[in-house]
Protein backbone atom coordinates (compact mmCIF):
# COMPACT_ATOMS: atom_id res chain seq x y z
CA UNK A 1 0.00 0.00 0.00
CA UNK A 2 3.03 2.28 0.60
CA UNK A 3 3.48 2.73 -3.14
CA UNK A 4 0.29 4.82 -3.31
CA UNK A 5 1.01 7.02 -0.27
CA UNK A 6 1.99 10.07 -2.33
CA UNK A 7 -1.25 10.00 -4.33
CA UNK A 8 -3.39 9.39 -1.23
CA UNK A 9 -1.68 12.28 0.58
CA UNK A 10 -2.30 14.53 -2.42
CA UNK A 11 -6.02 13.66 -2.41
CA UNK A 12 -6.16 14.00 1.39
CA UNK A 13 -4.84 17.57 1.11
CA UNK A 14 -7.56 18.43 -1.40
CA UNK A 15 -10.39 17.07 0.76
CA UNK A 16 -11.79 19.66 3.15
CA UNK A 17 -13.73 17.27 5.35
CA UNK A 18 -13.82 16.12 8.96
CA UNK A 19 -11.30 13.36 9.68
CA UNK A 20 -13.65 10.34 9.84
CA UNK A 21 -15.20 11.09 6.44
CA UNK A 22 -11.80 11.82 4.91
CA UNK A 23 -10.51 8.54 6.35
CA UNK A 24 -13.39 6.63 4.77
CA UNK A 25 -12.86 8.12 1.31
CA UNK A 26 -9.12 7.49 1.43
CA UNK A 27 -9.77 3.96 2.61
CA UNK A 28 -12.02 3.29 -0.38
CA UNK A 29 -9.49 4.79 -2.75
CA UNK A 30 -6.66 2.71 -1.27
CA UNK A 31 -8.82 -0.36 -1.72
CA UNK A 32 -9.51 0.49 -5.38
CA UNK A 33 -5.85 1.26 -6.03
CA UNK A 34 -4.76 -2.07 -4.63
CA UNK A 35 -7.41 -3.92 -6.64
CA UNK A 36 -6.40 -2.16 -9.89
CA UNK A 37 -2.70 -2.73 -9.18
CA UNK A 38 -3.27 -6.46 -8.74
CA UNK A 39 -5.42 -6.49 -11.88
CA UNK A 40 -2.69 -4.84 -14.01
CA UNK A 41 -0.07 -7.17 -12.56
CA UNK A 42 -2.21 -10.15 -13.58
CA UNK A 43 -2.41 -8.71 -17.12
CA UNK A 44 1.37 -8.95 -17.32
CA UNK A 45 2.48 -5.35 -16.66
CA UNK A 46 5.57 -4.83 -14.51
CA UNK A 47 5.18 -3.33 -11.01
CA UNK A 48 5.99 0.24 -12.00
CA UNK A 49 3.64 0.27 -14.99
CA UNK A 50 0.83 -1.39 -12.98
CA UNK A 51 1.27 1.24 -10.28
CA UNK A 52 1.22 4.11 -12.79
CA UNK A 53 -1.91 2.80 -14.52
CA UNK A 54 -3.75 2.27 -11.23
CA UNK A 55 -2.90 5.80 -10.10
CA UNK A 56 -4.01 7.21 -13.44
CA UNK A 57 -7.40 5.52 -13.06
CA UNK A 58 -8.02 6.62 -9.47
CA UNK A 59 -6.55 10.14 -9.40
CA UNK A 60 -9.70 12.23 -9.10
CA UNK A 61 -10.51 15.72 -10.36
CA UNK A 62 -12.40 18.28 -8.24
CA UNK A 63 -15.85 17.20 -9.47
CA UNK A 64 -15.20 13.55 -8.67
CA UNK A 65 -13.95 14.48 -5.20
CA UNK A 66 -17.06 16.58 -4.60
CA UNK A 67 -19.21 13.62 -5.66
CA UNK A 68 -17.26 11.31 -3.35
CA UNK A 69 -17.78 13.68 -0.44
CA UNK A 70 -21.50 13.74 -1.10
CA UNK A 71 -21.70 9.94 -1.43
CA UNK A 72 -19.86 9.44 1.86
CA UNK A 73 -22.05 11.74 3.86
CA UNK A 74 -24.25 10.06 6.46
CA UNK A 75 -27.95 9.91 5.65
CA UNK A 76 -28.62 12.18 8.64
CA UNK A 77 -26.28 14.87 7.24
CA UNK A 78 -27.89 14.53 3.81
CA UNK A 79 -31.33 14.92 5.40
CA UNK A 80 -30.31 17.91 7.53
CA UNK A 81 -28.68 19.66 4.59
CA UNK A 82 -32.10 19.83 2.92
CA UNK A 83 -32.95 22.60 5.37
CA UNK A 84 -31.38 26.01 5.10
CA UNK A 85 -28.86 27.16 7.69
CA UNK A 86 -31.42 29.57 9.14
CA UNK A 87 -34.15 26.98 9.57
CA UNK A 88 -31.64 24.58 11.08
CA UNK A 89 -30.70 27.25 13.63
CA UNK A 90 -34.39 27.66 14.50
CA UNK A 91 -34.74 23.88 14.85
CA UNK A 92 -31.69 23.90 17.11
CA UNK A 93 -33.31 26.45 19.45
CA UNK A 94 -36.57 24.46 19.47
CA UNK A 95 -34.68 21.26 20.30
CA UNK A 96 -32.80 22.93 23.17
CA UNK A 97 -36.16 24.10 24.52
CA UNK A 98 -37.53 20.54 24.38
CA UNK A 99 -34.39 19.19 26.08
CA UNK A 100 -34.66 21.82 28.83
CA UNK A 101 -38.32 20.93 29.41
CA UNK A 102 -37.83 17.14 29.63
CA UNK A 103 -36.16 16.92 33.09
CA UNK A 104 -38.73 19.46 34.35
CA UNK A 105 -41.65 17.30 33.19
CA UNK A 106 -40.11 14.22 34.87
CA UNK A 107 -39.53 16.13 38.14
CA UNK A 108 -43.01 17.64 38.15
CA UNK A 109 -44.78 14.32 37.50
CA UNK A 110 -46.14 12.84 40.74
CA UNK A 111 -43.75 9.90 40.90
CA UNK A 112 -42.76 9.11 44.49
CA UNK A 113 -39.05 9.29 45.25
CA UNK A 114 -37.53 5.82 44.98
CA UNK A 115 -35.47 4.45 47.86
CA UNK A 116 -32.26 2.52 47.25
CA UNK A 117 -33.97 -0.84 47.99
CA UNK A 118 -36.67 -0.08 45.42
CA UNK A 119 -34.15 0.45 42.62
CA UNK A 120 -33.03 -2.19 40.18
CA UNK A 121 -29.43 -3.44 40.32
CA UNK A 122 -29.14 -2.17 36.75
CA UNK A 123 -29.84 1.39 37.87
CA UNK A 124 -26.24 2.06 38.96
CA UNK A 125 -24.46 1.10 35.69
CA UNK A 126 -27.20 2.91 33.75
CA UNK A 127 -26.74 6.03 35.90
CA UNK A 128 -22.96 5.84 35.38
CA UNK A 129 -23.38 5.64 31.59
CA UNK A 130 -25.92 8.48 31.62
CA UNK A 131 -23.47 10.58 33.69
CA UNK A 132 -20.74 10.01 31.10
CA UNK A 133 -23.11 11.21 28.36
CA UNK A 134 -24.14 14.18 30.51
CA UNK A 135 -20.56 15.29 31.30
CA UNK A 136 -19.40 14.93 27.69
CA UNK A 137 -22.48 16.80 26.43
CA UNK A 138 -21.77 19.66 28.84
CA UNK A 139 -18.17 19.79 27.67
CA UNK A 140 -19.26 19.81 24.01
CA UNK A 141 -21.82 22.55 24.70
CA UNK A 142 -19.07 24.58 26.37
CA UNK A 143 -16.76 24.07 23.36
CA UNK A 144 -19.37 24.87 20.72
CA UNK A 145 -21.50 27.58 22.31
CA UNK A 146 -19.38 29.30 24.98
CA UNK A 147 -15.66 29.02 24.10
CA UNK A 148 -16.34 29.05 20.34
CA UNK A 149 -12.77 28.18 19.34
CA UNK A 150 -13.62 25.75 16.58
CA UNK A 151 -10.91 23.45 15.26
CA UNK A 152 -12.51 21.76 12.27
CA UNK A 153 -10.70 18.42 12.80
CA UNK A 154 -11.85 18.28 16.45
CA UNK A 155 -15.50 19.25 15.93
CA UNK A 156 -16.71 15.64 16.00
CA UNK A 157 -14.65 14.72 19.08
CA UNK A 158 -16.72 12.95 21.78
CA UNK A 159 -19.81 12.85 19.55
CA UNK A 160 -19.62 9.05 18.95
CA UNK A 161 -19.07 8.52 22.70
CA UNK A 162 -22.21 10.55 23.51
CA UNK A 163 -24.24 8.52 21.01
CA UNK A 164 -22.75 5.26 22.26
CA UNK A 165 -23.58 6.17 25.88
CA UNK A 166 -27.20 6.81 24.87
CA UNK A 167 -27.40 3.44 23.13
CA UNK A 168 -25.79 1.68 26.12
CA UNK A 169 -28.31 3.32 28.43
CA UNK A 170 -31.16 1.94 26.32
CA UNK A 171 -29.67 -1.57 26.22
CA UNK A 172 -29.12 -1.51 30.00
CA UNK A 173 -32.68 -0.27 30.47
CA UNK A 174 -34.19 -3.17 28.54
CA UNK A 175 -31.83 -5.68 30.18
CA UNK A 176 -32.78 -4.33 33.62
CA UNK A 177 -36.48 -4.42 32.77
CA UNK A 178 -36.43 -8.08 31.72
CA UNK A 179 -34.07 -9.01 34.56
CA UNK A 180 -36.35 -7.50 37.21
CA UNK A 181 -39.40 -9.21 35.66
CA UNK A 182 -37.62 -12.56 35.80
CA UNK A 183 -36.33 -11.95 39.32
CA UNK A 184 -39.81 -11.00 40.54
CA UNK A 185 -41.43 -14.02 38.90
CA UNK A 186 -38.87 -16.37 40.46
CA UNK A 187 -39.52 -14.84 43.90
CA UNK A 188 -43.26 -15.30 43.43
CA UNK A 189 -42.64 -18.95 42.42
CA UNK A 190 -40.61 -19.67 45.55
CA UNK A 191 -42.83 -17.72 47.92
CA UNK A 192 -45.83 -19.36 49.57
CA UNK A 193 -48.70 -17.03 50.41
CA UNK A 194 -49.81 -13.67 49.08
CA UNK A 195 -47.76 -12.78 45.98
CA UNK A 196 -49.03 -9.15 45.87
CA UNK A 197 -46.03 -7.46 47.59
CA UNK A 198 -43.61 -9.31 45.28
CA UNK A 199 -45.69 -8.43 42.27
CA UNK A 200 -45.74 -4.74 43.26
CA UNK A 201 -41.98 -4.71 43.93
CA UNK A 202 -41.32 -6.44 40.60
CA UNK A 203 -43.41 -3.90 38.67
CA UNK A 204 -41.85 -0.95 40.49
CA UNK A 205 -38.26 -2.09 39.90
CA UNK A 206 -38.76 -3.07 36.27
CA UNK A 207 -40.76 0.02 35.34
CA UNK A 208 -38.45 2.45 37.16
CA UNK A 209 -35.31 1.21 35.38
CA UNK A 210 -37.06 1.28 32.00
CA UNK A 211 -38.46 4.78 32.61
CA UNK A 212 -35.10 6.16 33.77
CA UNK A 213 -33.19 4.68 30.83
CA UNK A 214 -35.78 5.75 28.25
CA UNK A 215 -35.72 9.35 29.47
CA UNK A 216 -31.90 9.35 29.65
CA UNK A 217 -31.65 7.90 26.13
CA UNK A 218 -34.19 10.37 24.72
CA UNK A 219 -32.33 13.35 26.24
CA UNK A 220 -28.94 12.03 25.08
CA UNK A 221 -30.30 11.43 21.58
CA UNK A 222 -31.80 14.91 21.34
CA UNK A 223 -28.59 16.52 22.66
CA UNK A 224 -26.57 14.54 20.13
CA UNK A 225 -28.88 15.57 17.28
CA UNK A 226 -28.77 19.25 18.27
CA UNK A 227 -24.98 19.23 18.61
CA UNK A 228 -24.69 17.46 15.23
CA UNK A 229 -26.79 20.22 13.64
CA UNK A 230 -24.54 22.84 15.20
CA UNK A 231 -21.41 21.04 13.95
CA UNK A 232 -22.88 20.70 10.45
CA UNK A 233 -23.54 24.44 10.37
CA UNK A 234 -20.01 25.20 11.54
CA UNK A 235 -18.54 22.90 8.89
CA UNK A 236 -20.55 24.62 6.18
CA UNK A 237 -19.39 28.03 7.39
CA UNK A 238 -15.79 26.83 7.45
CA UNK A 239 -16.13 25.36 3.95
CA UNK A 240 -17.57 28.57 2.50
CA UNK A 241 -14.82 30.53 4.26
CA UNK A 242 -12.12 28.29 2.72
CA UNK A 243 -13.68 28.56 -0.76
CA UNK A 244 -13.88 32.40 -0.64
CA UNK A 245 -10.33 32.45 0.68
CA UNK A 246 -9.19 30.31 -2.28
CA UNK A 247 -11.05 32.52 -4.73
CA UNK A 248 -9.44 35.67 -3.30
CA UNK A 249 -5.99 34.12 -3.54
CA UNK A 250 -6.54 32.97 -7.15
Amino acid sequence: MDRFTALLNRISDRLTLPQPQKQRILQEMADDLDFLYQHYLSLGYDEEEACRRAEEKVDADEDTLELLVRLNESSLSVFLRRFSLKSRQRMEIALWAVIACMPGVVLLSDNPAWGADELSAFFYPAAAVASIAFILSLRKIYELYIRREHVISKLHRFMPVILMSGAQCMILGFSGFFFELRDGLLKITLHIGDPAPYLASMMQKSMSILAFCTVATAITGLVWLTLTMKILGLEELEKSFILTDKEVRS
Binding site: Q27, D31, A167, I171, R182
Partner: protein, 132 residues
Amino acid sequence: MTILTEMGLFAYPILAIALAILIIAGKKFRDLYILRRVVRRQSEEHTLNAILVLAVIMVAVGFTATIMGFSSVMRVILTAREIDPAVVTRSIASSLLPVIVSLLALSVSSIVWFVLRLRFMSLIEKTDSRDR
Protein backbone atom coordinates in the same frame (compact mmCIF):
# COMPACT_ATOMS: atom_id res chain seq x y z
CA MET B 1 -24.99 -25.40 32.66
CA THR B 2 -28.29 -24.59 34.42
CA ILE B 3 -28.67 -21.41 32.38
CA LEU B 4 -28.08 -23.36 29.16
CA THR B 5 -30.67 -25.97 30.12
CA GLU B 6 -33.13 -23.25 31.09
CA MET B 7 -32.70 -21.43 27.77
CA GLY B 8 -33.58 -24.58 25.85
CA LEU B 9 -32.83 -25.09 22.15
CA PHE B 10 -32.22 -21.42 21.49
CA ALA B 11 -29.14 -21.53 23.71
CA TYR B 12 -27.17 -23.13 20.87
CA PRO B 13 -27.57 -20.43 18.17
CA ILE B 14 -26.97 -17.76 20.83
CA LEU B 15 -23.85 -19.59 21.98
CA ALA B 16 -22.64 -20.04 18.39
CA ILE B 17 -23.07 -16.32 17.64
CA ALA B 18 -21.33 -15.38 20.91
CA LEU B 19 -18.45 -17.66 19.97
CA ALA B 20 -18.18 -16.06 16.50
CA ILE B 21 -18.12 -12.59 18.11
CA LEU B 22 -15.45 -13.75 20.55
CA ILE B 23 -13.27 -15.12 17.74
CA ILE B 24 -13.57 -11.96 15.60
CA ALA B 25 -12.96 -9.68 18.59
CA GLY B 26 -9.96 -11.77 19.70
CA LYS B 27 -8.43 -11.67 16.23
CA LYS B 28 -8.99 -7.93 15.94
CA PHE B 29 -7.59 -7.36 19.44
CA ARG B 30 -4.44 -9.26 18.47
CA ASP B 31 -4.08 -7.29 15.21
CA LEU B 32 -4.75 -3.85 16.67
CA TYR B 33 -3.18 -4.06 20.14
CA ILE B 34 -0.49 -6.77 20.07
CA LEU B 35 0.75 -6.80 16.46
CA ARG B 36 -0.35 -3.17 15.89
CA ARG B 37 -1.03 -4.14 12.30
CA VAL B 38 -3.57 -2.11 10.36
CA VAL B 39 -4.45 -2.31 6.68
CA ARG B 40 -6.39 0.52 5.12
CA ARG B 41 -9.05 -1.64 3.57
CA GLN B 42 -12.82 -1.45 3.49
CA SER B 43 -13.03 -5.19 4.24
CA GLU B 44 -11.11 -4.68 7.51
CA GLU B 45 -13.75 -2.21 8.64
CA HIS B 46 -16.51 -4.59 7.57
CA THR B 47 -15.00 -7.39 9.68
CA LEU B 48 -15.01 -5.02 12.64
CA ASN B 49 -18.64 -4.07 12.03
CA ALA B 50 -19.52 -7.78 11.91
CA ILE B 51 -19.15 -7.81 15.71
CA LEU B 52 -22.04 -5.38 16.05
CA VAL B 53 -24.18 -7.01 13.35
CA LEU B 54 -23.78 -10.45 14.95
CA ALA B 55 -24.68 -9.02 18.37
CA VAL B 56 -27.87 -7.50 16.93
CA ILE B 57 -28.72 -10.84 15.31
CA MET B 58 -28.17 -12.46 18.71
CA VAL B 59 -30.71 -10.10 20.28
CA ALA B 60 -33.19 -10.94 17.52
CA VAL B 61 -32.71 -14.64 18.28
CA GLY B 62 -33.12 -13.90 22.01
CA PHE B 63 -36.40 -12.05 21.44
CA THR B 64 -37.67 -14.85 19.19
CA ALA B 65 -36.84 -17.40 21.89
CA THR B 66 -38.67 -15.36 24.52
CA ILE B 67 -41.76 -14.88 22.36
CA MET B 68 -41.83 -18.58 21.48
CA GLY B 69 -41.46 -19.42 25.19
CA PHE B 70 -44.40 -17.17 26.06
CA SER B 71 -46.44 -18.73 23.29
CA SER B 72 -45.72 -22.24 24.61
CA VAL B 73 -46.71 -21.21 28.15
CA MET B 74 -49.98 -19.70 26.89
CA ARG B 75 -50.75 -22.84 24.88
CA VAL B 76 -50.22 -25.01 27.96
CA ILE B 77 -52.44 -22.71 30.08
CA LEU B 78 -55.21 -22.91 27.47
CA THR B 79 -55.12 -26.70 27.12
CA ALA B 80 -54.51 -27.73 30.74
CA ARG B 81 -57.57 -28.18 32.94
CA GLU B 82 -55.77 -27.34 36.14
CA ILE B 83 -52.38 -25.76 36.47
CA ASP B 84 -50.22 -24.70 39.40
CA PRO B 85 -49.56 -20.90 39.19
CA ALA B 86 -45.97 -21.53 40.32
CA VAL B 87 -45.38 -23.57 37.15
CA VAL B 88 -46.69 -20.70 35.03
CA THR B 89 -44.51 -18.04 36.70
CA ARG B 90 -41.47 -20.32 36.60
CA SER B 91 -41.98 -20.98 32.86
CA ILE B 92 -42.41 -17.28 32.05
CA ALA B 93 -39.26 -16.50 34.05
CA SER B 94 -37.36 -19.13 32.05
CA SER B 95 -38.66 -17.66 28.78
CA LEU B 96 -37.16 -14.29 29.73
CA LEU B 97 -33.65 -15.69 30.10
CA PRO B 98 -32.60 -15.72 26.38
CA VAL B 99 -33.50 -12.06 25.89
CA ILE B 100 -31.64 -11.02 29.07
CA VAL B 101 -28.52 -12.96 28.04
CA SER B 102 -28.58 -11.63 24.48
CA LEU B 103 -29.12 -8.01 25.58
CA LEU B 104 -26.21 -8.22 28.02
CA ALA B 105 -24.10 -9.75 25.24
CA LEU B 106 -25.10 -6.87 22.95
CA SER B 107 -24.06 -4.38 25.62
CA VAL B 108 -20.60 -5.96 25.99
CA SER B 109 -20.16 -6.51 22.23
CA SER B 110 -21.04 -2.91 21.39
CA ILE B 111 -18.45 -1.63 23.88
CA VAL B 112 -15.83 -4.00 22.42
CA TRP B 113 -16.76 -2.91 18.88
CA PHE B 114 -16.54 0.76 19.84
CA VAL B 115 -13.13 0.43 21.51
CA LEU B 116 -11.69 -1.63 18.62
CA ARG B 117 -13.06 0.83 16.08
CA LEU B 118 -11.50 3.78 17.89
CA ARG B 119 -8.19 1.94 17.96
CA PHE B 120 -8.52 1.08 14.24
CA MET B 121 -9.15 4.71 13.31
CA SER B 122 -6.34 6.01 15.50
CA LEU B 123 -3.87 3.48 14.02
CA ILE B 124 -4.88 4.52 10.49
CA GLU B 125 -4.37 8.17 11.43
CA LYS B 126 -0.97 7.36 12.92
CA THR B 127 0.03 5.45 9.76
CA ASP B 128 -1.09 8.43 7.66
CA SER B 129 0.88 10.98 9.62
CA ARG B 130 3.97 8.71 9.64
CA ASP B 131 3.76 8.32 5.84
CA ARG B 132 3.63 12.08 5.48
